[in-house]
């Protein structure tokens, strides 16, 4: 997904969209085309994420649109006060780009995992988080980010869309699979893996699979999703993020407030590192019960 991001940003730069791109010393072997397209407006700010975010805020407050890029936890955890005070207090159009959403960095270890990012960030004033599910989403997401006049966070993961399947156009909520089974909402790229695993299930067990790509989620819930929840009676939300502050509690609360709560609600979220061991993204998903077989079995979707 990082390459799709780079290509999209490079296209914006070559198209004359004015912005400054700041990186926290990351992007070797990936961002060079963007660097070449932006020239002096591509700034390697060095290994100094607090300053990276403050500088981005200073630029934006002075009328210069700014993007700030790093490995996700270095932005939302290391520089949280700068995000809160310098960016969000002032409602500035700073786009924070965190590479490595969820367990994407796998065996690189827990310091590089982003498991609380959008929960923390969307608690801040005016912040909107974008969690594109597929590489194909990037062009539309980058256009939305460019147009946005307030703080934004882009969580980059790994595109996991099944091959040979028509991709619905980007939207904050999209139905990927229509079945007669439970309603299954997934945040971000994990939806691709569940999509692949759902394709060959029998119709009566196949979930009504939805992907959510923007948070907070309350203002974009489509009526068709609410109807799926009502007709299926069972709703599960899956996210590569801890439960506290995640999309699951937010969705449950929203449905309760609207009086449209499902009979059964299940939440699949990150529990942590139960074995104390580290491995690939797939390893951590399995340990947390977020892999497709675990989720689908828990919901009774597997024959």
């Amino acid at each position: 997904m990082r390459d799709a991001f780079r290509d999209g940003m490079t296209a914006l730069a070559r198209g004359g969209v004015p912005f400054v791109f700041l990186t926290g010393d990351l992007g070797f072997g990936a961002l060079e085309p963007l660097r070449d397209a932006l020239g002096p407006r591509f700034i390697n700010a060095g290994i100094s994420e607090q300053n990276l975010v403050s500088v981005a805020a200073g630029l934006a407050a002075d009328g210069t649109d700014a993007w700030a890029y790093s490995i996700a936890p270095f932005l939302y955890a290391r520089a949280l006060e700068q995000v809160r005070n310098d960016v969000c207090f002032h409602g500035l159009p700073v786009r924070l780009v965190g590479n490595g959403g969820g367990f994407s960095y796998g065996s690189m270890g827990p310091t590089h995992h982003a498991l609380e990012d959008y929960g923390i960030l969307t608690a801040l004033k005016g912040m909107r988080a974008y969690v594109p599910a597929f590489n194909e989403d990037l062009a539309a997401v980058l256009a939305a980010l460019t147009a946005r006049r307030g703080p934004a966070y882009l969580r980059l993961g790994r595109g996991e869309a099944p091959k040979g399947v028509p991709m619905p156009d980007y939207a904050p909520w999209r139905r990927l699979v229509s079945g007669d089974g439970p309603t299954l909402a997934v945040v971000g790229p994990l939806a691709g893996t569940l999509w692949s695993a759902s394709l060959n299930l029998p119709q009566n067990r196949r979930p009504r699979l939805w992907v959510c790509a923007e948070l907070p989620l309350a203002d974009t819930l489509p009526e068709a999703f609410l109807e799926d929840v009502e007709s299926s009676g069972t709703l599960a939300l899956v996210e590569e993020h801890v439960a506290q502050g995640g999309a699951g509690p937010a969705l449950a609360a929203e449905l309760l407030q609207r009086g449209r709560a499902p009979r059964i609600f299940r939440h699949f979220a990150v529990r942590g590192y139960p074995s104390g061991r580290v491995g690939s993204q797939a390893f951590h998903r399995r340990e947390n019960g977020l892999d497709a077989p675990s989720v689908l079995a828990a919901l009774g979707c597997l024959p």
């Binding site: 400054v20 002096p40 407006r41 700034i43 700010a45 060095g46 100094s48 607090q50 300053n51 975010v53 403050s54 500088v55 981005a56 805020a57 200073g58 630029l59 934006a60 407050a61 002075d62 009328g63 210069t64 700014a66 006060e81 700068q82 005070n85 310098d86 207090f89 002032h90």
Partner: protein, 269 residues
């Protein structure tokens, strides 16, 4: 006593009266509101009033990184006609816009909400970079405290500013030598900031922070990238018995202390 001024004017006896008036107004505001942090406000007030009256142009930006000196900023803006007497009367009251640490969004000269130390230099560097990249004029001033340089983010910003050649950026340091729970020397051995700044390739001037002539001279000429002006100041200046003491950071003024301080400020407009 008059001396050259970067804007072509002169620092005159009249300006001494402006300073006296501002000092008395700050004392009154803090006395009436019974708000602390007076010591660090008095240490930087002279510099802020000088900047407002004699230095800043419409293209310039000033950022108060040591947000606990908000009172000095408000009074400096009042002194320059940018805040009203009625505004000052609301300081720290329910419904005020004049918080104990500046809150932005309502006044063009309060661009950022500050108060957590270590944010101003980075914000200032970003603003200075914006002017460079866009080719727009204007100088960016940022006032920090001295203890604030114990924050790593300040050094991140200084490294960035020097590397990026931000010669439109001036960092001012209110070096009153005292911080929250001791002196800067006792707490972190940071009384010697100048050689550290020079090691980061900044151009450094050290002046008496209560001498407008000296400040204006230190701001003169082409700046290094960046220029840093260390203001040697007295915390709690004009507070008899509290000058240079920790208590000036915390204690609200009592009636007798207030009257003595007003008297110490001298007569004037």
């Amino acid at each position: 006593m008059a001396s050259p001024d970067p804007l072509g004017g002169v620092v005159s006896v009249d300006f001494e009266n402006v300073l006296r008036s501002a000092r008395r107004r700050l004392l009154k505001m803090h006395y009436e509101s019974q708000v602390c942090h007076l010591g660090g406000n008095l240490s930087c007030l002279d510099a802020l009033v000088t900047l407002q009256h004699r230095t800043l142009t419409k293209d310039d930006v000033f950022i108060l990184s040591k947000g606990h000196s908000a009172g000095a900023l408000y009074v400096a803006l009042w002194s320059a006609g940018k805040l009203s007497e009625d505004d000052l009367k609301t300081f720290h009251q329910d419904g005020t816009r004049l918080a104990g640490h500046p809150a932005s969004g309502w006044h063009p000269d309060i661009r950022f909400s500050t108060g957590s130390l270590g944010h101003g230099p980075g914000l200032a560097a970003g603003t200075a970079l914006s002017r460079k990249l866009s080719g727009r004029s204007g100088r960016i001033f940022c006032l920090t405290s001295d203890g604030e340089w114990q924050e790593g983010s300040c050094w991140e910003a200084l490294t960035f500013a020097a590397h990026r050649g931000l010669d439109n950026l001036c960092l001012l340091v209110d070096q009153n030598g005292l911080q929250g729970f001791g002196s800067t020397e006792e707490v972190a051995s940071t009384a010697d900031l100048e050689p550290r700044f020079r090691a980061f390739h900044a151009g450094v001037r050290t002046v008496d922070g209560h001498d407008p002539d000296a400040l204006l001279a230190a701001l003169d000429g082409s700046w290094e990238a960046p220029r840093i002006v260390v203001l040697r100041t007295v915390k709690g200046r004009f507070l008899p018995g509290l000058e240079g003491r920790m208590e000036s950071h915390y204690l609200p003024l009592k009636a007798d202390g207030y009257e003595a301080a007003v008297k110490a400020c001298g007569e004037g407009l």
